[in-house]
């Protein structure tokens, strides 16, 4: 919302305040100023001149030499290429060192041998457009038709001495989408008086000839007045300028009036050409299905039954609160005008405006909700201006149809509650003074909320009014004493942090990726789309394919991220993410599960590197006795991938990415990924730490080289060794795996180092030997033999 300080001055005394002071104080009392702009920009020393003669430049066809009178007895020779100059016209003249709107300094300069003593300005050079000066052209010299005198400052003549504050108005304050609303805020903030608005005194006897029918409860009030003998003309410069700086294009005096009053009071208005309204009979009703209307923006719209329209007996005249029909708009030939000030249901206006995609200043104000009571002041203000500006005659009374219950909004006020709630200690009178300055009426233990404040409903709302005008900055800072039984991080959250810290200590970098997945990524991963989509959570209103699905695996994003880095010439990558996956179960219940994904490629990447990382996680979480079993995922190498299983529960899986998947993702050849289930890890983890005394007795080590089938998983041998040796086993390690010439075909040799120790005594050789023999015997059953 743009606020002209000149306009503000009509209602509040601000002569002794700077624009910056006003902006910063209003920001702190709740009306946030985003920018401060000076009308006229950097214009300096541009004056009115009068062209007294024009002749052609001898050396250039397109240049004209103008003699311009700049005071009673001084002329300047100014050269221009613009062809629209005429003798006798008033122009804006820059002399040597004058500054135009955008800050450019104008100097005398030579044009083909003749010196130009300054410059005549176009609209653009003054920061203006045709909008406010419809009689001028944009690609030529601005020939000024306003009342002016030679030598006068151009800013005075064109009314460019204004400062405009641009406000961010929150959605609960439609009343501040108006000059008068902001004037009230200014007055309250600076403890100044708010001047009253000049209104029309309706003491006419003759009833209005306009007939109005309201056929919907979505129109709560309809006020209208007939303006006769209308003289359509451009609005006076002051009005045009005020509209211009407010961002509204001046059209003609009637349309400008409706916009002016809307800006001033925040209540939209509309004007119809009365001759185009059948029998001066107006009906406010729901649109018929597919009813057509041609609107002011030259578009034809097809309406729905929920839309509300203003119509006569034959046709729609306007879409209520949104936009008028072209056919009955005010034109240069209009003689009689029907002015409308009405109140329509905000929700309906919002829906219609949204579905037809028409955004107007009117709809913007209606959709936030207006109180029908504010209509009266608005139409009376409009009538007052009609007469003052000599636009037309008012001979009949204002018509007023009410379709609402006149209730007063009274709120019981408890002053000590407000003090306690905010944490201040204001006297009752001080609070009352604040409320009164904002238009509230104080009655005993109640306050009456002014009709323009649709947002005030309870004592907390009153507390805010008091607090913001008193000043949030004056509220003291007092720490609360609240303590609760439970605080800090939960066990799960602590474990999650432990995992994150373990990951980074292992050289992994954390990534954040979107929770969505593009279905084409599933295809690239070789997943069965139909199957995976069946239980996927789908977005009904996505922003393209990328946001159409909630992901069921983190690996699509992981592969995408690895690919992104690979394509950016990053040689080695080790990444992880902890985030959610989403899926529906059979009963359509949605499950959100936290997962960990890991992805590596580059120099040190290998299956066993990844396995080592995962084993570190397991160690950090004290998860023992897991098994790694074969798995089958379409995007993982069938022989270099596995699941992590603990007591028949899968904790996750990992492996080498299939070559074709790497290709699909434009990745290098060797890529390894893992996905682990965070909750399963947490459930199986232990944070308990108990010290086990360090044995003082020596250990005995034995190395065993064993021969077995190539296909024999080493893990089973380890399991057997552990089982047979039992509690004296301290450690079993594999230090070599050999396949080759010295062995039979399809055989391999695995070398183990077995460390044994007793907790409470020295281990004897006999014990060790018998354990080893027993182990070898047991291993023979697995077809595993000692290498000779």
């Amino acid at each position: 919302m743009k606020l002209s300080l000149n306009w503000l001055k009509d209602y509040v005394e601000i002569e002794n305040l700077t624009a910056e002071e006003i902006a910063s104080k209003l920001t702190m009392s709740g009306s946030k100023v985003e920018t401060i702009a000076k009308d006229g920009g950097q214009i300096k020393d541009i004056i009115i001149g009068k062209i007294i003669s024009i002749k052609k430049h001898e050396n250039a066809d397109k240049l004209l030499i103008c003699e311009v009178l700049i005071n009673e007895n001084e002329t300047k020779r100014i050269i221009t290429s613009a062809q629209n100059v005429v003798e006798g016209a008033f122009v804006a003249v820059c002399l040597n060192n004058s500054v135009i709107y955008d800050g450019m300094v104008i100097k005398d300069r030579n044009f083909k041998g003749i010196k130009s003593q300054g410059m005549m300005c176009s609209l653009g050079e003054l920061g203006l457009s045709k909008d406010a000066f419809p009689y001028a052209i944009e690609d030529g010299i601005f020939l000024i038709e306003e009342e002016c005198k030679i030598g006068q400052d151009v800013k005075t003549v064109l009314g460019l001495k204004d400062t405009i504050l641009d406000f961010e108005i929150t959605s609960n304050r439609p009343d501040c989408l108006s000059i008068y609303g902001l004037a009230r805020e200014t007055a309250a903030t600076f403890s100044k008086n708010l001047k009253e608005i000049e209104l029309f005194n309706d003491d006419l006897k003759k009833e209005s000839p306009i007939k109005v029918n309201i056929k919907t409860d979505k129109c709560t009030r309809y006020m209208t007045v007939l303006i006769e003998n209308v003289k359509i003309a451009p609005s006076p410069l002051k009005i045009r300028n005020r509209l211009r700086v407010s961002g509204i294009k001046p059209i003609n005096n009637v349309v400008d009036l409706t916009n002016y009053v809307m800006l001033e009071l925040g209540v939209p208005m509309h004007a119809f050409d009365a001759e185009k309204v059948e029998n001066l009979e107006i009906t406010i009703r729901n649109a018929k299905k597919d009813e057509k209307i041609n609107t002011l923006d030259n578009l034809e719209h097809s309406l729905k039954e929920e839309d509300i329209i203003i119509s006569d007996s034959k046709k729609p005249l306007a879409i209520a609160g949104v936009i008028g029909a072209k056919e009955c708009s005010v034109t240069n030939n209009t003689k009689t005008v029907i002015l409308e000030v009405a109140c329509f249901d905000g929700e309906t206006v919002r829906k219609t405006s949204k579905s037809l995609n028409i955004k107007t200043e009117s709809a913007l104000r209606f959709e936030k909700g207006l109180n029908p009571k504010v209509c009266e002041q608005t139409i009376k203000r409009a009538c007052n201006l009609i007469l003052n500006l000599n636009i037309g005659e008012i001979n009949t009374k204002i018509k007023d149809l009410k379709n609402f219950k006149e209730e007063e909004n009274l709120i019981k006020i408890d002053y000590s509650y407000i003090n306690n709630f905010i944490g201040i200690n204001l006297k009752q009178e001080e609070m009352q003074k604040i409320l009164i300055s904002l238009g509230f009426k104080v009655e005993k233990d109640c306050v009456k909320v002014p009709e323009f404040r649709v947002d005030i409903k309870n004592i907390a709302d009153l507390a805010e009014e008091v607090a913001r005008i008193y000043g949030y900055d004056k509220i003291p800072c007092v720490l609360p004493c609240t303590t609760t039984k439970n605080f800090g991080l939960s066990n799960e959250q602590q474990i999650e942090n432990l995992i994150k810290n373990t990951a980074t200590s292992l050289g992994l970098f954390e990534i954040f990726t979107f929770s969505f997945v593009d279905p084409s990524l599933y295809e690239k991963m070789g997943l069965n789309e139909e199957e995976i989509l069946k239980n996927s959570v789908k977005i009904k209103n996505p922003f393209g394919k990328e946001t159409s699905l909630m992901r069921r695996t983190l690996l699509a994003s992981m592969l995408q991220t690895l690919s992104y880095n690979h394509r950016n010439k990053i040689k080695d990558a080790a990444l992880f993410e902890i985030s959610k996956t989403y899926e529906k179960d059979e009963t359509k219940k949605i499950k959100e599960e936290e997962k960990i994904s890991i992805g590596i490629y580059g120099k040190n990447a290998s299956f066993f590197k990844l396995k080592g990382i995962i084993e570190c996680f397991l160690k950090a979480l004290q998860i023992n006795d897991v098994e790694f079993v074969k798995t089958s995922k379409p995007y993982l190498h069938p022989f270099i991938s596995c699941e992590i299983v603990k007591e028949n529960q899968t904790l996750g899986f990992f492996g080498e990415v299939m070559p074709n998947v790497c290709e699909n993702f434009k990745l290098c050849k060797k890529v390894y990924v893992a996905e682990l289930n965070l909750l399963s890890l947490i459930k199986n983890s232990s944070t308990e730490k108990k010290f086990k005394p360090i044995s003082k007795f020596p250990s005995i080590e034995r190395d065993l080289s064993l021969i077995c089938d190539e296909e024999q998983p080493s893990f089973e041998i380890v399991k057997q060794i552990k089982k047979t040796i039992g509690n004296i086993l301290e450690k079993v390690e594999i230090f070599d795996v050999y396949k080759g010439d010295q062995l039979e075909n399809f055989k391999k040799s695995i070398s183990f180092k077995i460390t044994m120790r007793k907790q409470d005594a020295t281990l004897k050789d006999d014990e060790v030997n018998s354990k080893i023999t027993e182990t070898l015997n047991n291993l023979e059953k697995l077809n595993v033999f000692l290498r000779k």
Binding site: A460, Y564, S579
Partner: protein, 342 residues
């Protein structure tokens, strides 16, 4: 007798003279054997002591002992000297170019958003807040209705929502966690809740369909706006690690009343006005306010007995300010050249 004394004296003088400048280990060892070994003159003299008269025996013994002690001392001294020299030589040989780079040890980093979140979380934990999380796929009721944003409320327009089903959506804010907690917990309540939120925005330098918020809520008897101000002020001072100037500016949120936005003085220009703060001198940091009485009622908490404050901040926004990041997309591209900088 006198001759013997003279002889010992001679041995001493000769020996000391010979040892004095020997710094070779082998040679010194040989000399030690020569002068103090079993075949040395001194040793043979000491063996002859028994041949002397009783009074003289003592005297000769003392002289021999004194001399051999003196020699031993000199030998030790020289051996030490040799060791020292040898050590110096060894160290000298081990000389390296200490300006060569260190061996590369790759440790990973947490994502900058996690790092900021951890800082924020730590501060609130130290203030006694509980960290809770909630679902991202929410019902219309928790995301809007219970938060005083009924259907067709204009605030719903500004939060373009991704819908899963008619009444099921991707939460647009972390505030539904407030409701879930208040429904099942009696005050006092003191929580923060970080998490992902979603808006149907297309991605650009300052917008993203997915981003992160941290929500805070404190409900108890007699909670005031003064409590809100104090809590958030010490929070931001701790987060910035300095005494930043803050301001609370009235604002509007449907679920708080009074509502405010907290700004901090622009750390780039110190409040003078610059491009970062859009010439305002202050930067918006978070939204906050006193929990709306209707929201308390919706959770069966009586607003005449209890009051509370709530706040919410955007993690990306804070991280962008702290790390001087101009484009939000960087957080989700995960370029390692970006991630390694934090």
């Amino acid at each position: 007798m006198e001759d013997l004394k003279k002889k010992i004296e001679e041995i001493e003088i000769n020996a000391l003279k010979e040892i004095e400048n020997v710094i070779d280990f082998k040679k010194l060892t040989e000399l030690k054997i020569k002068y103090l070994g079993k075949k040395s003159e001194l040793f043979s003299i000491s063996k002859q002591i028994g041949n002397f008269e009783k009074e003289e025996r003592k005297e000769v013994g003392e002289i021999v002992n004194k001399t051999s002690e003196k020699l031993k001392l000199q030998f030790d001294l020289n051996f030490k000297k040799i060791k020292k020299i040898e050590l110096e030589k060894k160290l000298q040989n081990e000389k390296v170019d200490i300006t060569l780079p260190g061996e590369e040890v790759e440790i990973g980093k947490l994502h900058p958003l996690t790092q900021i979140l951890n800082k924020i979380t730590e501060i609130f934990i130290s203030l006694g807040f509980l960290v809770v999380k909630g679902p991202e796929i929410e019902t219309d009721y928790y995301n809007f209705e219970a938060l005083n944003i009924p259907k067709n409320h204009p605030a719903r327009d500004t939060q373009d929502t991704f819908y899963v089903e008619e009444n099921l959506l991707l939460r647009t804010q972390t505030s539904p966690v407030q409701i879930r907690i208040m429904e099942k917990t009696k005050p006092p309540i003191k929580i923060i809740s970080p998490g992902r939120v979603y808006r149907a925005d297309s991605i650009d330098a300052t917008h993203s369909p997915v981003f992160n918020q941290v929500e805070g809520l404190l409900v108890d008897e007699k909670i005031t706006m003064a409590n809100l101000k104090a809590t958030l002020e010490i929070f931001i001072k701790k987060l910035c690690n300095k005494d930043v100037k803050t301001r609370f500016r009235p604002h509007h949120f449907p679920f708080t009343e009074p509502s405010a936005e907290m700004d901090i003085e622009c750390f780039k220009c110190g409040g003078k006005g610059c491009s970062l703060c859009k010439n305002e001198g202050f930067i918006e940091i978070l939204g906050c306010g006193m929990v709306h009485p209707k929201v308390l009622e919706n959770c069966n908490i009586n607003p005449s007995n209890f009051s509370g404050f709530a706040f919410g901040l955007g993690l990306e926004r804070i991280a962008m300010l702290f790390y001087d990041i101009k484009d939000l997309r960087l957080f989700y591209e995960n370029n390692l050249k970006f991630l390694k900088q934090f």
